[in-house]
Amino acid sequence: MNTPITKKTTENKIDRPIWNAPIRLFFIMRRYPIIPMMVIGLLIITAIFGTWMEPHDPIRADVLSRHIPPFWMEGGDTKFLLGTDALGRDVLSRIIGGASVTLLVVTASVTTGVVVGTGLGLVTGYFGGFVDDVVMRIVDAWGILPQLLIIIIIVLTFGQGLFVLIGVLAMLSWTGAVRLVRAETLSLRSRDYVLLAQIAGASNTRIIFRHILPGVINMVIVTATLGTGTIILTEASLSFLGAGIPPPDPTWGKMVGDERMYVGAAWWTSFFPGIAIAMVVMSGNFLGDWMRDRFDPTLRQL
């Protein structure tokens, strides 16, 4: 008698005993970048629930508890797990507090930059002509200006603050997005299905959003993810040069920069925030790479 094809054969269960489950799970998980995902997840959780997680107030200064070492060192105190900084503020609390700023700044600036860049790229790529020329000239002009210097000039002109910082960091990513999206749009525009849609009488908006955008979006997401690292590092550099968010709000870059003259005497004040930056940036880069390999290996040239 023929067994129906759909019937599950019980013999397979011998090949997949239950005690193999962890190993199989391991091999499944190997396909995903677990650690970076965990780091990013930790960042998000810390950013959202940070205020409840902080052991101390990150902005309240107490000069008498200045530079207390981490708890495992001599002179340390379990009250301040990772020690205190030059103004007596708990390093751990500030790292947690900095997480929310980091997340907010990064998400907002990357999103803004990429959205604006994608929009512009779609429009110029699709319509071409005079608009294309003008926008590309501006993109070129922006590209040849030394980024860090221009950013600092803008910050000094318009004052230091959260919104200025977000806007200025967004300007780092928009040109890259415009160029990429425009190139993709140009190539997609001559595809058959787009021409057919045009013949069928679809409006330009519809074509852009329904046909071109989906083809572009993978690349956009990958670029955005890969760009987060640059944004975090640039914010750190800005804070180091004194042009970031004003005190006393903590950001990781600022913590490293402010304490840099105490590297010898109080290394923990700049070491731990530096580690935090490195881990988040590494995770972002790793995730970006993985996503790119996953979505479309032909994007490897990015």
Partner: protein, 637 residues
């Protein structure tokens, strides 16, 4: 069409380079290539190409130094191979790491602030007189001087035989002769804005009130006209004490002109400038000098803006003199440093408005806002209804006589001052090296100082005062310069915790905030540091100076202070001047126009095992060059 031979040859070469890289046949070598190149670089680095001898002075460097390192690894920058200078003139080298080396401009009148006071260009230029460490004015370029009995002129008798440098940078190795009255007159007139309207020198404006042209009487005699006598002269503006100018050569000016002279550094001081590169270094070489021929032959000053790098250089023996913020001074001392006190700077917060200026000094138009905005909780308003202007002229008024619009802000200022824990600030931020301050112009160590001027830390009292004044939490702005410092953050935090006051920081260079200072519309606090001298004697007729007429700066706008200054000038009796200073202190203690935070010492640190530094002359003023002044008093061990 290219000949075939050439084309073929070209292709062959191309093939050869691009494809037949034989070395990469063995894959292991691929790893070795970067490793070997890195090693090569390190070996090259340690070998170095400046061929300095290994310094014995490195023995003085930190105890943690690994003694196993070989000679090749020691990056000794300055060596001391010869015996100290006793016989045969200056010898040896010295290196200092400074935050900035200033802007090299040789033309006196064009020397912008930041160049002008580089202590008479790092001991390369000499002032007409000198301020001795005993607190007296002593001869320098002038071997004596006379003040006309009617206070109308200074006559300078110039010391003959002071040679100008032959090796000064830009001077071309020429002999520029000796210092004569012509050079003195030229130097004076160049910096004085009365005689040279284009002068941007630091003292240009300071001289404009009081000094006219300088004329040549004979080869070694010059006379400076006094328009308005300043009882602090000639110590003030004529010596190295604070602001002054060096004597330059008129012959150089005649030869190179104003613009050309910028690159020429021919002076008459104990050191000549061999090189002055902006942002990089200054190289000085000793010359025979009438005052004292220096011990150290070559001095190199390096610009190192990063404090961590300066500390590293000091520890490694690369720099023998440097300066850091106070908390790191102990780090330097652990590495063999000896600290030398330059001055004590009194940090205070300018909360006072400017009551006096009604006219914009730049444009001459009436100011809308006569120097202050009474809507701020800490600003007393003497122009409000029911308020009495004259009360501002009393030493200490009766509180009952003070109207609410003036008294309540006073209480707010006092509360803010009370909320600050000065002991904690000194302990925490200065490592206990300073002391709490009470009056911004009179140091606690001064004989005239009264303890009752000191504010006690009393948060509860502060809160009670705020309530009395009917004032709730508010926001205050502070201008902090380019960078928010620890003291700003610490004080803001104390205000926030105790009184609920939030702080906004305004950053930016002085030039950006200048307009608001000049037109008196500035609305921020400024944290400033003073040298702690008693309120100065001010010259009559100095109304042109903004300081006197109502002050862009922090206390010039207070009517009582203006009166005190006016009275102190020309008061010959020291006892009476001291009594006036005490009145000044009492007035401040009542009104709290300018609460003082702390008195912090400014140190320069040098390697004790390498050199000694017995000072003969001294100066006050925290320019970067002060950290290495006076160079001629350094002796190598």
């Amino acid at each position: 069409m290219k000949p075939r031979v050439v084309v073929r040859a070209w292709h062959l070469i191309r093939e050869a380079t691009l494809s037949n890289l034989r070395i990469f046949r063995n894959w292991n070598l691929v790893i070795l290539v970067p490793i070997i190149s890195s090693l090569l670089l390190i070996v090259l680095a340690c070998g170095g190409d400046d061929g300095d001898a290994v310094s014995d002075s490195s023995a003085a460097a930190p105890a943690a130094k690994p003694t196993a390192t070989t000679a090749a690894a020691k990056p000794a920058k300055a060596s001391d191979p010869e015996a100290p200078a006793a016989a045969g003139g200056p010898s040896g080298t010295l290196t200092a790491a400074l935050k900035t080396v200033g802007t090299p401009i040789g033309t006196p009148g064009l020397c912008v602030p930041g160049c002008a006071n580089e202590k008479y260009f790092y001991s390369a230029f000499d002032t007409i007189l000198q301020w001795h460490v005993d607190g007296k004015v002593v001869p320098a370029v002038a071997e004596s001087w006379d003040l006309a009995p009617d206070l109308s002129s200074f006559t300078w008798h110039i010391r003959p035989g002071i040679p100008f440098h032959t090796g000064g940078a830009g001077g071309g190795g020429k002999d520029w002769g000796e210092v004569t009255a012509e050079d003195v007159a030229f130097s004076f007139d160049q910096v004085n804005s009365n005689t040279n309207p284009e002068s941007v020198h630091d003292v240009a404006g300071d001289m404009s009130c009081c000094y006219g042209p300088t004329t040549v009487i004979d080869t070694y005699t010059a006379e400076t006209e006094i328009i308005a006598y300043d009882s602090r002269a000639p110590g003030w503006l004529m010596t190295n004490l604070r602001d002054s100018f060096g004597i330059s050569s008129k012959k150089v000016y005649d030869e190179f002109g104003s613009d050309g002279m910028r690159e020429v550094f021919v002076g008459s001081g104990p050191y000549q400038i061999l090189e002055w590169t902006q942002g990089d270094r200054v190289v000085l070489e000793a010359v025979d000098h009438y005052r004292k021929t220096p011990d150290v032959k070559t001095v190199t000053l390096l610009e190192v803006p990063e404090e961590a790098s300066r500390i590293a250089m000091f520890k490694a023996g690369e720099a023998h003199i440097t300066h850091t913020s106070l908390p790191n001074v102990s780090v330097l001392e652990d590495a063999g440093g000896v600290k030398r006190l330059l001055e004590v700077s009194i940090r205070h917060m300018g909360m006072n408005p400017n009551f006096l200026e009604k006219i914009n000094p730049k444009s001459g138009e009436p100011l809308d806002n006569p120097g202050f905005d009474p809507s701020f909780p800490w600003v007393s308003d003497p122009f409000a209804d029911g308020c009495n202007w004259d009360i501002l002229l009393e030493v200490v008024p009766d509180e009952a006589d003070v109207c609410d619009e003036m008294n309540n802000p006073r209480k707010v200022r006092r509360a803010m001052s009370m909320a600050i824990n000065r002991d904690a600030l000194v302990e925490g931020l200065l490592n206990g090296l300073g002391k709490p301050g009470c009056n911004w112009a009179i140091s606690v160590d001064n004989a005239a100082h009264k303890d009752e001027w000191c504010m006690k830390h009393d948060p509860d009292g502060a809160r009670a005062l705020m309530e009395e004044a009917g004032q709730g939490p508010f926001t205050i702005g502070i201008w902090v310069g380019n960078e928010v410092q620890e003291i700003h953050q610490a004080v803001s935090s104390m205000w926030e915790q105790e009184l609920g006051i939030t702080t906004e920081y305004h950053t930016g260079p002085f030039s950006v905030w200048q307009p608001t200072f000049v037109d008196r519309s500035f609305q921020h606090l400024v944290f400033d540091g003073e040298q702690g001298g008693m309120p100065a004697h001010y010259a009559k007729g100095r109304e042109a100076q903004a300081w006197f007429a109502g002050g862009i700066m922090w206390s010039g706008g207070i009517p009582f202070y203006q009166r005190i200054y006016g009275n102190m000038l020309g008061e010959a009796d020291e006892g009476k001047r001291t009594a006036m200073a005490i009145e000044f202190g009492d007035h401040e203690a009542f009104w709290d126009w300018d609460p003082t935070l702390w008195e912090e010492p400014i140190y320069t640190v040098y390697t004790g095992s390498y050199m000694d530094w017995e000072l003969e002359s001294t100066s006050m003023h925290t320019q970067s060059s002060n950290f290495i002044y006076p160079l001629e008093d350094i002796t190598l061990k």
